[in-house]
C-alpha cells in the first residue's frame, strides 16, 4: 500500500468479493492484454521526508530573488504581498474546493469571484468582467477572437510595443484559418539614439479592422498616445483592446475613460511571488453590450427561494459545456485561486496603498535612471513619459552588462536585443517598491566599473 491509497490489502480483497471478481486483473479485461500493466521505467517512490529533502536541495540551486537584487521586469513584476494573503488562500475551503457548479456549497468562492469582477471593473473602468482567463497573454488572444466575433471581421492590428510574449500567444491563438494579425510599428530609434513613439495609427485603421491592441504602459515601459484611438476605431466600427497593468492603473486614467472596448491585464504580480511566471491570472473586462461574446465563467448575484441574496455562475450559454462548437471559447476553469489572492491584495491595499506602491515604484525608477544617467556611456532612451520601467542605453552590449552584473550577484535587466536587434545596446530596467536604494546604488557601482 503506497502513501496515498486509503484501503488495506484485506479491504481490497473484501471489495473485490463484493464486486464479484477474484482479482484486480479481472477489472481490466477490457484492456488489450499485450499492453496491460506495462513496466514503468521510473524509480521507486520516495518517502515524504526524502521528497522534501530532495526538492528543498533543488530549490537552493536557484538564485532566489528574495535574497538578491534584481531589475528584471519585462512583463513580470515583484511586489510585496502582505502575509494575510498566503494564509487566506491556503485555507482548505478555498484551496481544495472545486469549480462552483453547486452554488449552495460554493457561496464563498462565488462571492469572492463576484468581488474580483467588481474590483476588475473598478480598476479598468469597464462595465463587466469575467472570473479570469489564464493570463494576460491568452487574454490578448481571447480579446482578438472576441473582437472578430463581435465585428464579424478578420483583421487584428497589434502594436509592436505590446509584450512580445503576448504577441506570440496571439499568433498561436489566431493560427486557425480566418484571422489575419498585422503588427504595427509604434517606436523609432532616432539619429541620436533615443527612442520616440509613433502617435498616429489612423493610416492603419479602416473598415476591415476588428480591433487594435495596445499596451499601456507598453512593453518598453513608456506611455502610448491613446487619445483619439478609440474614436478613430469607432468611426469604422473597430474596437480598442487595451492591455493594462493593475499597479499603473492606480495613477493612470482607466481604459474605460479613453474608450476601450475590451481590457485584459496580468493580475498575478499584485498578490503573490513571481512563481517563475506561473500560475498567472488574466483580468478580462469589456463593455456591457459585449458580454455575450465574452469567454470564460461569469458570476452573478441573485436570490434564493426566500429572497436571500446569493451568487451563481451565469450567462453560461456562451460556454463550451452548453454551446459546444459554437461556444465563445473552449475555456472552462481559469485561475480562481490566483484571482482570489489578487482580490485580497487589492482589498488590503485599497486605493491609498495601491497609489503608494505605484508612487514608490516610479520614484525608485527615477532615482535609478538619474543615477545611471550620470554615468558616461549610459543614457535614458525614451522621450515619452514612462513609469517604473525604462530602457537604458549601455556602452557595451546589454548581454555583456548583464553577465558582469550577475558575477556580482545582481540580476540585471531584460536584454532588449532579444526584443529587437536595433536595441542590442539597451537594457530594460525595472524598479518596484521592493527595490531598495541600496540595491540601486550597488547596481550603479558595478555599472560604473564596466
Amino acid at each position: 500500500m503506497s502513501g496515498f491509497i486509503s484501503t488495506t490489502p484485506a479491504e481490497q480483497q473484501a471489495m473485490l468479493a463484493r464486486i464479484g471478481v477474484a482479482t484486480l486483473d479481472d477489472l481490466f479485461r477490457d484492456l488489450p492484454a499485450k499492453h496491460y500493466r506495462p513496466t514503468l521505467d521510473l524509480p521507486p517512490g520516495l518517502s515524504e521526508m526524502e521528497a522534501w529533502q530532495s526538492l528543498r536541495a533543488l530549490s537552493e540551486t536557484n538564485l532566489d530573488l528574495d535574497r538578491h537584487p534584481s531589475f528584471l521586469g519585462a512583463g513580470a513584476y515583484r511586489h510585496y504581498a502582505p502575509a494575510a494573503i498566503g494564509h487566506l488562500v491556503s485555507r482548505a475551503e478555498f484551496l481544495t474546493s472545486y469549480t462552483p457548479y453547486q452554488p449552495e456549497v460554493s457561496q464563498g468562492t462565488l462571492q469572492a469571484i463576484y468581488e474580483w469582477q467588481s474590483i476588475v471593473c473598478a480598476l479598468t473602468g469597464m462595465d463587466v468582467s469575467n472570473a479570469s482567463v489564464y493570463d494576460a497573454g491568452t487574454g490578448v488572444g481571447e480579446a482578438a477572437r472576441m473582437a472578430c466575433a463581435l465585428t464579424r471581421r478578420h483583421r487584428v492590428l497589434v502594436l509592436d510595443t505590446v509584450n512580445p510574449s503576448y504577441r506570440d500567444v496571439l499568433a498561436t491563438y489566431t493560427s486557425g484559418p480566418g484571422i489575419e494579425v498585422v503588427t504595427v510599428p509604434a517606436w523609432r530609434r532616432e539619429g541620436d539614439g533615443t527612442l520616440s513613439r509613433v502617435t498616429d495609427f489612423t493610416p492603419w485603421i479602416d473598415g476591415s479592422v476588428a480591433c487594435l491592441i495596445v499596451q499601456q504602459p507598453n512593453f518598453l515601459g513608456w506611455m502610448e498616445q491613446v487619445d483619439g484611438l478609440a474614436a478613430a476605431l469607432a468611426t469604422t466600427g473597430g474596437i480598442l483592446v487595451v492591455v493594462a497593468d493593475p499597479v499603473s492603473l492606480a495613477v493612470l486614467r482607466s481604459p474605460g475613460e479613453y474608450g476601450a472596448g475590451i481590457v485584459t491585464a496580468e493580475g498575478k504580480w499584485t498578490g503573490g511571488p513571481v512563481d517563475f511566471g506561473g500560475p498567472l491570472v488574466g483580468m478580462f473586462a469589456c463593455r456591457r453590450d459585449y458580454v455575450r461574446q465574452m469567454p470564460g465563467r461569469i458570476v452573478g448575484a441573485t436570490v434564493d427561494g426566500d429572497g436571500r441574496p446569493g451568487y451563481v455562475l451565469t450567462l453560461a450559454t456562451r460556454e463550451q459545456h452548453i454551446r459546444r462548437e459554437k461556444a465563445t471559447s473552449n475555456i472552462c476553469t481559469a485561475e480562481a485561486l490566483i484571482a482570489l489572492a489578487t482580490t485580497i491584495y487589492l482589498c488590503q491595499l485599497g486605493p491609498q496603498g495601491l497609489r503608494e506602491v505605484a508612487g514608490q515604484s516610479i520614484a525608485k525608477a527615477r532615482y535609478l535612471a538619474t543615477e545611471i544617467g550620470r554615468l558616461p556611456g549610459y543614457a535614458v532612451l525614451p522621450t515619452a513619459p514612462w513609469l517604473y520601467e525604462v530602457p537604458i542605453r549601455c556602452p557595451r552590449p546589454a548581454a555583456d552588462v548583464n553577465r558582469a552584473l550577475l558575477a556580482e550577484g545582481i540580476v540585471g535587466g531584460f536584454d532588449l536585443g532579444q526584443y529587437s536587434p536595433d536595441l542590442a545596446d539597451a537594457l530594460l530596467l525595472c524598479c518596484t517598491e521592493v527595490t531598495s536604494r541600496a540595491d540601486i546604488d550597488r547596481l550603479v557601482r558595478v555599472l560604473r566599473t564596466l
Binding site: 455575450r292 451565469t314 453560461a316 450559454t317 452548453i322 454551446r323 459554437k326
Partner: protein, 125 residues
C-alpha cells in the same frame, strides 16, 4: 392545441402569413422544452434569412437553441420587447412572444399545418 391558422416547421418554429409580410416565432412545445427563456438573439432589420438556416438563438439558463428560418425573406421588424422581457416567449409564444416579421422573398421550406405538427409532436413522446 397549436393554432390552426399557422404553418409549422419540424424544428418547432411557426409562421403566420399576413399578406405582404410573415410573422415568425417558436411553438408552445419549443418554449416548454427550453424552460424559462432568458435571452433571444435576433437578426438586424434589413438582413436576409434563408429557409432552413439559422437566423437567431433562443436561450434558457442551461440550453441554447438555434432558430431556423421557415422561409427565405428580408427582416422588416424585430420584436424589441424580447430584449427586456424574454419571458413573453414562454407566456405567449403565438402572440406577444413573436420574434421577427419578414417580407417573404422566395420559397418556404417544408412547412406543415397544425394537424400534421400535432401528429409530429405525438411521435416525439
Amino acid at each position: 392545441m397549436n393554432p390552426s391558422d399557422l404553418q409549422y416547421t419540424k424544428e418547432h418554429e411557426w409562421l403566420r402569413d399576413a399578406g405582404t409580410v410573415a410573422v415568425i416565432g417558436i411553438t408552445h412545445h419549443a418554449q416548454d422544452a427550453l424552460g424559462d427563456v432568458v435571452f433571444v438573439e435576433l437578426p438586424a432589420i434589413g438582413s436576409t434569412i434563408t429557409a432552413g438556416r439559422s437566423f437567431g438563438v433562443v436561450e434558457s439558463v442551461k440550453a441554447a437553441s438555434d432558430l431556423y428560418a421557415p422561409c427565405d425573406g428580408e427582416v422588416v421588424a424585430v420584436n424589441g420587447l424580447l430584449a427586456t422581457t424574454p419571458d413573453l416567449v414562454n407566456t405567449d409564444p403565438y402572440g406577444d412572444g413573436w420574434m421577427i416579421k419578414v417580407r417573404v422573398t422566395g420559397s418556404t421550406g417544408d412547412l406543415i399545418d397544425a394537424g400534421s405538427y400535432d401528429a409530429f409532436l405525438a411521435t416525439l413522446h
